[in-house]
């Protein structure tokens, strides 16, 4: 595994006064549907290689239950997190799945990703789009082992040199303080 990069989460924000035009919104929607389909089909390698930017930062912070009056800062990528991955870390996770030695996925489980509430905005940088969406993932395996996860995503998508959109920043906001599952080994 490469040395970790705990780079600050991008300061680039979606410009909510500049929503994407219809065609661009459609392109992004198709990007997310394709991503969901690859995950449903367990094609993690293809997801990584065709939809993820080499400079990706993929982050799922731990969000504590705190009192409203508590004025401590929100978590940053320097804090402990459930996911705090760069491309090499994600690739390492995919490698593990491809060893043929992951007993928990043999027989394979089933997962279905439902992506909705997709909003797309321009940002101050032309090659970056800012998006919001909601996701519901259902996982079933070993007969009756089933879990649901609901979460929001704040992504930055970057257009590469060939014009293809790729996942550049992903912040996952899981709606569970206590993860109601044995693990989150999913590409959320």
């Amino acid at each position: 595994m490469n040395a970790p990069t705990l780079q600050a989460f991008s300061p680039v924000q979606p410009d909510e006064t500049r929503p994407a035009e219809l065609a661009l919104h459609h392109e992004v929607t198709q990007f997310y549907y394709r991503e969901a389909r690859l995950q449903n089909r367990r094609q993690a390698r293809q997801w990584l290689e065709t939809l993820v930017d080499p400079d990706v930062h993929y982050w799922l912070p731990i969000v504590e239950d705190r009192f409203v009056r508590d004025n401590r800062a929100a978590p940053t990528p320097q804090d402990p997190a459930i996911y705090n991955d760069n491309y090499a870390d994600l690739s390492n996770r995919v490698d593990r799945l491809e060893t043929g030695l992951v007993w928990m996925e043999d027989p394979p489980g089933r997962a279905r990703f439902l992506v909705n509430n997709i909003e797309v905005y321009h940002t101050a940088q032309e090659e970056l789009l800012g998006t919001y969406c909601n996701v519901h993932v259902y996982r079933n395996r070993r007969q009756r082992d089933e879990t649901h996860h609901f979460y929001g995503r704040e992504d930055l998508l970057r257009r590469d040199e060939s014009g293809q959109l790729r996942l550049f920043r992903r912040k996952i906001m899981l709606d569970q303080r206590v993860v109601l599952d044995k693990n989150l080994y999913l590409f959320l």
């Binding site: 009192f67 402990p80 459930i82 390492n92 996770r93 993860v179 693990n183 080994y185």
Partner: protein, 450 residues
């Protein structure tokens, strides 16, 4: 009352499968194990200032762990003394008072009832405030900054409870000037009995090559040879330890940083060896560069060398809430701490590459015993029993290699002792002879088979 002698046969290394399932066993554990033992609460660095608090579990009981004005720490039952409502719903924070959201009774950081609505008009000045403070956990103490609480006033001191394990803990808690935990903890659910991960962490070097075959194969480095148990570096590769109150660990010598195979961390550890040797002697300096899978009885586990630190909070006989912190040494640079945190969560966090392998086994070990016929069976922990004995330089009972079940047997020996004992005095009566059933057990087993 559960017939404990039908559940654990210490001398023969056998446990009934009922220990992973029965409601009756569980209820007795809550009283006799969780009601009596020192339970891990937090690290002092998580609550440095007056009014800083975290909420935690002690068994099934919810507590607030809060720093006092005088710098001491109290643990208070998180339950209003009026109608029992929970008084603090946050994970952590700073509070001068905990106010119940039901009727507004308000308790100070010391647990005393500080204010309540309409005290004069509703109670006519008759409420004796001194009798309705939040219940205080009988004992709270720190060992080198690690804070534990105990409900039983008759329990030994934390230092005596840790006993010989403290001698070993000093290796990493004191060798370089102290360790701390990086939080907040991840929290997740595992549908398993709390003892399954507790026994796994305390002594299971055996599963690593098989359960984690996929994860260690992609790690590369020296551990990769273990994948699929293809290679077994048994000779002099490590040892197992169990101590008086069911604590224990297995150690892979020279294994520090092995799972992460991180040169910076290994360099840091090896550079500390001369200082640790001078402070704690040669044996602990040797253990300092080992990789430990370890348990503080009953439900606190950690991996030193991979630096994950966990508590298995019981939520019924077949569910736990796992809380996970990262263990770092105070003397590490901020960069190295960040690296250690990152590697620990990548492997043993809630989405960890090794954690996810373990979770499957934990759950299945529990739920397979739902069947009453299955539950009539027993489990085997006889591995390495023939080699268990005393060591001239090391306290406790020592197993010859890190792949063995010495620490399992020590864990269940103490579990059975506590489950049978009327009180701590009855436990103390066994202080002299506690090692006996653990040593020479294989000879007894052979005798029975004949």
């Amino acid at each position: 009352m559960v017939k404990v002698n039908e559940l654990v046969d210490v001398a023969n290394g056998i446990q009934s499968k009922r220990v992973f399932w029965d409601q009756e066993v569980y209820e007795q554990e809550l009283e006799r194990v969780f009601g009596r033992c020192w339970l891990f609460l937090t690290h002092e660095s998580q609550i440095p200032d007056f009014g800083d608090f975290v909420t935690a579990y002690m068994g099934e009981d919810k507590v607030i762990v809060v720093r006092q004005k005088d710098g001491s720490i109290k643990a208070l039952l998180n339950s209003c003394t009026h109608r029992g409502n929970q008084v603090c719903h946050a994970d952590s924070g700073n509070a001068k008072a905990f106010t119940c959201n039901y009727h507004g009774w308000s308790f100070g950081a010391d647990g005393a009832l500080a204010a309540l609505p309409m005290e004069q008009s509703a109670y006519y000045g008759q409420l004796d405030r001194s009798k309705v403070g939040l219940r205080e956990v009988a004992k709270v103490a720190s060992y080198r900054g690690f804070v534990f609480g105990c409900f039983d006033p008759a329990a030994p001191s934390l230092e005596d409870y840790l006993g010989d394990m403290a001698w070993y803990l000093d290796t990493w808690m004191d060798g370089t000037g102290g360790a701390e935990l990086v939080g907040p903890p991840m929290k997740s659910i595992l549908r398993c009995n709390w003892k399954v991960p507790a026994e796994n962490f305390i002594g299971d070097g055996y599963h690593v090559g098989w359960t984690h075959a996929a994860a260690i194969k992609i790690l590369g480095g020296p551990l990769a040879g273990l994948a699929g148990n293809a290679e077994f570096p048994l000779d002099d590769a490590g040892l197992q330890v169990t101590t008086r109150h069911g604590h224990g660990f297995g150690v892979i010598l020279d294994g520090v940083g092995l799972i992460h195979d991180d040169p910076a961390y290994r360099e840091y550890a090896y550079a500390n060896v001369p200082a640790v040797t001078e402070k704690l002697g040669e044996w602990r300096a040797k253990l300092y560069t080992g990789h430990w899978n370890a348990g503080i009885f009953p439900n606190c586990s950690y991996l030193y060398g991979t630096n994950t630190f966990k508590v298995w909070n019981p939520r019924g006989p077949n569910e736990i809430e796992v809380w996970t912190w990262t263990l770092v040494e105070k003397a590490m640079s901020p960069e190295l701490k960040a690296e250690v945190v990152k590697q620990a969560i990548h492997t043993f966090g809630t989405a960890g590459t090794l954690e996810s392998d373990d979770g499957e086994n934990m759950e299945t070990c529990t739920w397979s015993n739902r069947g009453p016929q299955t539950r009539k069976g027993v489990m085997n922990s006889q591995m390495g029993q023939i080699n268990d004995g005393e060591h001239p330089d090391l306290p406790g009972v020592i197993g010859k290699n890190f792949i063995g079940e010495t620490s399992y047997r020590g864990f269940y020996r103490f579990w059975a002792e506590l489950m049978q004992a009327q009180d701590w005095d009855a436990v103390r009566a066994n202080d002299v002879a506690w090692k006996e059933p653990l040593i020479g057990g294989a000879v007894k087993a052979a005798g029975r088979a004949a």
